[in-house]
């Protein structure tokens, strides 16, 4: 991890069209940001805006339509399929795993060169204040960060608790909406953005 950014999304875009013949745009996400240092990053945004698609592209399970995702110096789309989760691992919500096509044999691609993931993507982890597991989960996020890793927590806040968790835990933020993933340097900034406040509605502090 010497000198290289932990994660860079270089002019990444993802475009879905209605179908093979109907080329009407159905979904578009454009992302361009980099994170050099270990951090815990909170990701918010409405359902369907592309939070999970963003995670899939970082994890290398979903190929961008344009641009590159680079994790610790590796272009994810050039890394062997089975070794991609050694660089970035996507902890899915529930058990829905979307499958993606493989276009090249593994021997033509690069090894990951890592045995434990550098980027950890937590997709809507189940935070339930009653059961006490939250405390262990938060400690774990901090431990990963302390070991020099990059942690993403994607959450669609439905309760004040969720927002408070993000505020306490995350150092920087991404807001995924309207076809973009906009980075914010801290909680104060994301929470005062008019689009974010509209999205949060009554939860906005």
């Amino acid at each position: 991890m010497s000198g290289l950014p932990l994660l860079a999304l270089e002019r990444v875009s993802k475009i879905y069209r209605r179908g093979l013949f109907d080329r009407t745009l159905a979904f578009r996400l454009d992302v361009d940001f980099r994170i050099d240092e270990p951090a815990i990053v909170g990701v918010m945004g409405p359902n369907g805006a592309g939070k999970t698609t963003l995670f899939e592209m970082i994890a290398g399970s979903n190929a961008p339509t344009g641009g590159r995702v680079v994790v610790a110096g590796h272009d994810m789309q050039r890394v062997r399929y089975r070794e991609r989760d050694r660089l970035a691992i996507h902890y899915h919500q529930s058990y829905q795993v979307r499958r993606f096509s493989r276009t090249r044999p593994d021997f033509m691609m690069e090894p990951a060169g890592s045995s434990y993931p550098v980027v950890h993507l937590f997709d809507e982890p189940q935070f339930n204040a009653q059961d006490g597991y939250i405390g262990f989960m938060l400690d774990f996020f901090h431990r990963l960060r302390g070991e020099g890793r990059l942690v993403f927590i994607c959450l669609h806040p439905t309760a004040a608790l969720h927002l408070e968790l993000l505020r306490q835990t995350c150092e920087r933020y991404l807001f995924v909406a309207n076809g973009q993933a906009r980075p914010f340097a801290d909680f104060g900034r994301i929470i005062s953005d008019p689009d974010v406040r509209r999205y949060l509605g009554a939860l906005a502090p």
Binding site: Y81, V97, D131, G132, G135, F140
Partner: protein
């Protein structure tokens, strides 16, 4: 001294990582707890520790010997017993017979083990002693399937104890039990503590916090926290949860 150790276990099912990185150590005479939310990988972990799945990476060491990838039968011969979430009893046999069949001496004799067990007063005595130990002393003659659920659980533990294990794994022992059943099972497990090294895998935090010497919390296929119940309770989120209120 660690009787059982798992080093950096990693297991995948196809493209999916089910155990990312699990290291555990179970000390002689202790009760070690493993807990975690549903789907965290507890049962998969149990299946690797007891030989049902071979890990893609990592080692399992029992009593100084590397047992990674050995069959469940070979592992059980070394002195590791387990009781399952789904019970494994001979339903048509009595409680006594279920225990008697599981005694190593009975097994060695081969043909007509139950007849043998009834004829040998030493075996009869031993099977009864185990039943008394798990609180089923007065149920010896009862057919297994006629026992209430909680007593079937206790009988399963009796069957596991009959092999005189050095280490006993209990997988979700409270599954399906009501609060009375849990309390009785907790009493039984408390009684076994010290006499046999125990590893209890449990979803019910309250149960483990009252019994375990050390607890490992598993989530996302990894150990996300570890410590004594007091250490874990020191976490402010745990203190403020339902669990903390029990303390």
């Amino acid at each position: 001294m660690a009787l059982f150790e798992a080093h950096e276990l990693h297991l995948r099912f196809g493209d999916r990582v089910v155990l990312e990185d699990i290291s555990l150590s179970f000390e002689v005479g202790r009760l070690s707890g493993i807990m975690g939310p549903n789907g965290a990988g507890k049962t998969t972990c149990f299946n690797v520790l007891t030989g049902r799945y071979r890990p893609d990476r990592g080692r399992v060491v029992f009593d100084g010997a590397d047992i990674t990838g050995r069959s469940p039968q070979a592992i059980s011969r070394l002195g590791i017993a387990r009781s399952f979430q789904l019970m494994n009893l001979f339903d048509e046999f009595t409680a006594f017979e279920n225990v008697a069949i599981a005694l190593p001496e009975t097994r060695r004799r081969g043909a007509d083990p139950i007849g043998q067990a009834y004829r040998d007063s030493a075996l009869v005595g031993e099977a009864h002693e185990i039943l008394v130990n798990v609180g089923l002393g007065d149920r010896a003659g009862q057919i297994a399937k006629s026992l209430p659920y909680g007593e079937r659980r206790a009988l399963e533990i009796a069957v596991a104890l009959a092999s005189r294990p050095k280490l006993l794994f209990l997988d979700e022992p409270t599954a399906g039990l009501g609060s009375d059943g849990r309390a009785r099972l907790a009493d039984l497990v408390r009684k076994l503590k010290g006499a046999v090294t125990l590893v209890v895998i449990e979803h019910d935090m309250e149960f483990l916090f009252s019994l375990a010497d050390v607890i490992s919390v598993i989530h996302w296929g990894q150990v996300i926290a570890q410590g004594s119940p007091a250490d874990l309770r020191a976490n402010p989120w745990v203190r403020n949860s339902n669990l903390g209120k029990l303390a």
